[in-house]
């Protein structure tokens, strides 16, 4: 694999890592999948 491929792949992997971390954080703060439009604070 050439340099360009490696870099693009690395960028994608980084994005994926960030995505996973963001999902983990959301899960900890309480099961809210973040898709509330009517967020009265989940209650």
């Amino acid at each position: 694999m050439n340099l360009a491929t490696f870099l693009v792949l690395a960028a994608l992997a980084a994005a994926a890592g960030l995505a996973v971390r963001s999902i983990r954080k959301k899960k900890k703060s309480g099961g809210c999948s973040g898709c509330c439009g009517s967020c009265r604070g989940c209650h």
Binding site: A4, V8, L12, G31, G37
Partner: protein, 709 residues
């Protein structure tokens, strides 16, 4: 040594708005220990050592509902340094009823008079000084919505906390005061002096949760004797005596504030309610409004923008640009495919629906903020009651129009366990925000944007709820009388543009974030599975791992008209997030082609579905099991066993309905009698039987009598 200020007040009095204004983003939301009521606390802006504790909205500090118990345990047990009591000025007496209780706790109290703008608009005037004198505590006018004087109210509370002067309880009538005095003398040896009055009242009411250690049986017997003699003298029970006395006092306080009791004007709000909840116009208006909401957002305004995003942004602008870049730097072909066909194809397909989402949520936010949503609950109660359900069950469904997770969590407020289960099972039949791209995609790609498709998604959901309610209520497991329905109706008001835009923005941001995380990962995974076979060689989609997996699943759905492995797989990915159905389609169908034109994948899809199978697919995805997050919420509320039952029921129901739609739809065109059609007929017959069979209760006569009215 920080200062703790507790925010107390009725539901709907603007407490949350005030809390947000005072604490900004430094809030911490959790649960009160051991219970499922939400606990919110935060630091007061600009004061490092002052914490604001938001208590649940309560009408009273009785020991009956979870919210009341939580609020009172905190106030009596953890003793805040001051209480900031938010009072809705347009509903003075009922709010002051709670205030009389707060004044007995032995804690400094400051009253924040909210919604003064509503009062002024109604032409009313409040004598704040007079009220303050009568209450014996400071009163601050605020408008939480506009952020007026909120800080002043908080600072007044801080001053009260620092002065440490407990609030003075209100005096009731002489006879009651005499009785309470006797009890106070009996309990005061065992409690802090500031709380003697509180405990005296609680013991008089025979409050089951207020217990003081050290009260001997002899003393308790004396207390009981005092209570009984007071009840005999007044010919009423102790609790009612106190409740009445409090309301009498509240009326006096209201008069001191210059609001004479007994004003019976019909407000504009009432006039609207007359029409909007009437027998003749109520339901038609509701149907028309929901129709418009979905029609406007998906089929008109939204479509124009979505078309642009799909055709231009993700058609002519981004993909060629990215492709150009990747080719020019010499990126490997497979990686180009991952980026273009996988990520951009999938996530782009979903993001394309952002405009429609935003319009829909703007409209729903308007309906909720203006106060109409609770009227819908009232209408639905009338409808639900005929089938043994209560309108209380509809509130979670209203919340579920945004996201199913908070909707399911809202089922906690339903006391009746059977009703709570039933509501949790059916709440996700209403299309949530994440299902919107599915609706919009099918409406746009497979029905050419027909006007009836998206509103029908909502109404089919409602019908599913009602049918499920009828069917389940006839089984022994769920049978029972409907729960009582009591609901406060706040007056209608025009939401501020600012709050609407904030809702819309929050929603859009959450959607984009979800697209960039969950959907991004899912699309990359799907791309991988459909690009490689089990030996990890690059192949055509049809020979990939995904096709193999999908091929196992697909025949199950053949009777529904969509036995194509791609449709089956897409539906499966919906379990992770409903938007993934669209994302997966974007990867699987867009891949086929010349995908420079975003609409191309819509075209490819159209070849796989007929009208009947498309609608069947839509309904299946709308009614079947919700996403994992929602399933998780159901599990937290109902436990593992009932969650399995719920998911099983939902999938079965979805399958049955989708089957009938496809078979009847196809029959209408081909007039051919097939085994599939026969199956659909059997299913329909079973469904009808479940709906109309007599209930398993011997009180059939009562039901017929009720139905005859």
């Amino acid at each position: 040594m920080g200062i703790q200020i507790a925010l107390a007040g009725n539901p709907n009095c603007g407490k949350t708005t005030l809390f947000n204004a005072l604490t900004g983003s430094s809030q911490h939301v959790g649960n009160w220990p051991g219970v499922t009521v939400e606990k919110k606390e935060g630091r007061l802006r600009g004061h490092a050592d002052v914490t604001v504790q938001d208590l649940p909205g309560v009408y009273s500090l009785s020991p009956y509902t979870l919210e009341e118990v939580v609020a009172r345990d905190y106030l009596v047990g953890e003793k805040p340094d001051a209480i900031l009591n938010i009072v809705d000025a347009s509903n003075l007496e009922r709010n002051l009823y709670l205030t009389t209780q707060l004044l007995e706790l032995g804690v400094p109290v400051v009253v924040a008079l909210n919604m003064m703008d509503v009062v002024r608009k109604q032409g009313g005037v409040i004598d704040v000084a007079g009220l303050s004198r009568a209450l014996g505590c400071p009163v601050v006018e605020i408008s939480a919505l506009r952020g007026e004087h909120c800080v002043q109210a908080a600072e007044e509370a801080i001053r009260a906390a620092q002065a440490g002067q407990a609030a003075k309880p209100q005096r009731f009538d002489d006879a009651l005061e005499d009785t309470l005095g006797q009890i106070e003398a009996l309990v005061s040896p065992c409690c802090p002096p500031a709380q003697a009055r509180w405990y005296a009242v609680k013991y008089f009411e025979r409050d089951s949760r207020a217990k003081l250690d050290g009260l001997t049986d002899a003393v308790q017997a004396k207390i009981e004797a005092v209570i009984v003699s007071a009840e005999d003298a007044a010919d009423d029970d102790a609790e009612s005596l106190v409740t009445n006395a409090r309301y009498v006092r509240a009326a006096v306080l209201a008069r001191a504030a210059g609001r004479p009791a007994g004003q019976h004007r019909l407000t504009v709000s009432d006039r609207i309610d007359r029409i909007v909840t009437s027998r003749v116009f109520g339901f038609p208006i509701f149907a028309a409004i929901m129709f418009l909401v979905y029609y406007i957002s998906i089929s008109t305004v939204g479509t124009m923008m979505t078309d642009w995003v799909n055709d231009v942004l993700f058609g002519e602008l981004i993909p060629p640009a990215v492709e150009g870049f990747l080719v020019s730097v010499g990126c490997a072909d497979w990686l180009q495919s991952l980026v273009l066909d996988g990520v951009i194809g999938g996530v782009g397909a979903v993001l394309g629906f952002l405009p429609q989402m935003m319009v829909l949520f703007l409209l729903l936010a308007f309906l909720e903020d203006c106060g109409y949503m609770v009227r819908i609950a009232f209408l639905m109660d009338r409808l639900f009651r005929r089938f043994g359900l209560s309108g209380k069950s509809f509130i979670p469904m209203l919340i579920g129009m945004g996201c199913g997770v908070p909707g399911i969590m809202a089922t906690r407020t339903i006391e009746n366990e059977r009703d709570r289960r039933m509501t949790a099972i059916t709440t996700t039949f209403i299309p949530c925000g994440a299902k919107l791209p599915i609706i919009a995609l099918i409406a746009g790609a497979l029905f050419d944007g027909a006007w009836w498709v998206s509103p029908s998604a909502y109404f089919v959901g409602v019908a599913a709820i009602i049918c499920t309610g009828i069917i389940l209520k006839k089984t022994a497991l769920f049978a029972g009388d409907p729960a009582p329905f009591v609901m406060e109706l706040p007056p209608y008001h025009l939401p501020t543009v600012k709050s609407l835009l904030i809702h819309m923005w929050e929603r859009a941001a959450a959607f984009v974030k979800k697209a960039g995380t969950v959907i991004f990962l899912a699309c990359a995974a799907i791309w991988f599975l459909q690009s490689f076979n089990f030996r990890l060689e690059m192949v055509n989609a049809g020979e990939s791992m995904l096709a193999a997996i999908g091929g196992v699943l697909a025949p199950v759905f053949a009777p529904l008209g969509w036995g194509d492995w791609r449709a089956a797989v897409a539906a499966l990915t919906g379990l992770v997030a409903k938007e993934n159905v669209v994302g997966t389609f974007g990867v699987l169908f867009g891949f086929a082609e010349v995908a420079e034109d975003g609409a191309e994948f819509w075209g490819t899809m159209a070849q796989v579905f007929t009208a009947a199978s498309a609608y069947s697919y839509l309904i299946f995805n709308l009614l079947c099991a919700p996403c994992f997050a929602a399933i998780g919420a159901v599990r937290r509320e109902l436990g593992g066993k009932w969650t399995l039952i719920a998911v099983g029921y939902q999938c079965l129901f979805a399958y049955a309905v989708a089957l009938c739609i496809y078979q009847y739809g196809t029959f209408a065109v081909t007039r051919a009698f097939t085994p599939g059609l026969a199956a659909a007929l059997v299913v329909t017959a079973a469904f009808v039987w479940l709906l109309v069979r007599p209930a398993k209760r011997p009180e059939r006569k009562l039901q017929r009598a009720a139905a005859a009215e």
